[in-house]
Homo-oligomer: 169 residues x 2
């Protein structure tokens, strides 16, 4: 799958299926929720990543921009927690966005340890450019779902994502 785009097969019939290519047997994995989850997530992420790459952004950068837009003055640690990455990983991420003139690090007088993150004018413009691309992405991946099914899916996923309440047994 990942290589199919990289390798341009020239032979007419060898591209996908040799006369009778037996598909790989999944039976041990196919019963697992995590298996379906992984495949769906892979496809969605792929679509998301290429859609954002067209705009010149990585998925992480888009997440950061959208979170800063909705949380002006967010600190780098808070951003990292929200993105699920270490705060030391936030540094180069913001470095890059700052070099692109999309994000500012503002020193706040009330607490000189933290950097309050803000979007610049160009950053807000970038978000406005991102939103419609995001909507098209969403329509694309939910193309085979009715609105009700889409809502059901999100509800069930959120239920799965809930942390187990410290019952580790």
């Amino acid at each position: 799958m990942a290589t199919s785009t990289a390798h341009a097969r020239t032979r007419p019939d060898a591209a996908g299926d040799r006369t009778t290519r037996p598909p790989v047997n999944d039976r041990r994995l196919a019963v697992l929720l995590g298996y379906s989850l992984r495949r769906a997530q892979l496809r969605v992420f792929q679509d998301f990543a290429t859609a954002m790459a067209d705009l010149g952004f990585t998925p992480g950068q888009v997440g950061a921009l959208l979170l800063i837009e909705s949380n002006r003055g967010l600190s780098q640690s808070e951003l990292g927690a929200a993105l699920g990455i270490d705060r030391s990983s936030v540094v180069p991420l913001i470095d890059r966005l700052q070099a692109m003139k999309l994000v500012r690090r503002v020193v706040r007088a009330s607490d000189r340890r933290t950097n309050a993150l803000e979007l610049t004018e160009a950053g807000e413009a970038a978000v406005r450019r991102i939103l419609p691309v995001l909507e098209r992405h969403e329509r694309r991946i939910a193309a085979r779902l009715s609105p009700a099914e889409r809502q059901t899916l999100m509800d069930l996923l959120d239920r799965v994502a809930v942390e187990q309440d410290a019952k580790e047994k």
Copy 2:
């Protein structure tokens, strides 16, 4: 989230919420299917990875073992395609499993280019050890779902994972 386990906050009230810590605002992301998907997948994968680590395996190794078990004589390229990784990445994966004496590379007379992958006795024993752990993992992540809901979730996910039929517009 990832850091919450690494950092042991000792201060009683600073652990989760300073008196009124405003939770990070998600509004732009929370409407996206991919967002729910990512969080659920992260939690499931975490559970899976730690469960398998207890057995001494990485997720990739478990996938390889289960696929070889269900497809005796699989080639490395086919395995890579099934796992969604490049065939060059399969090499060290199988190297490791072979060093553990769980997998054999068999040269087939019919095609001396390919390696037919097979489980050893120890490999089959490993699979037998893995299966119940897999079942417990599955029960854990589906704990908040009824059997019907679990089935619905898998069906919807499989529908999302379907490749878009070459309509790239």
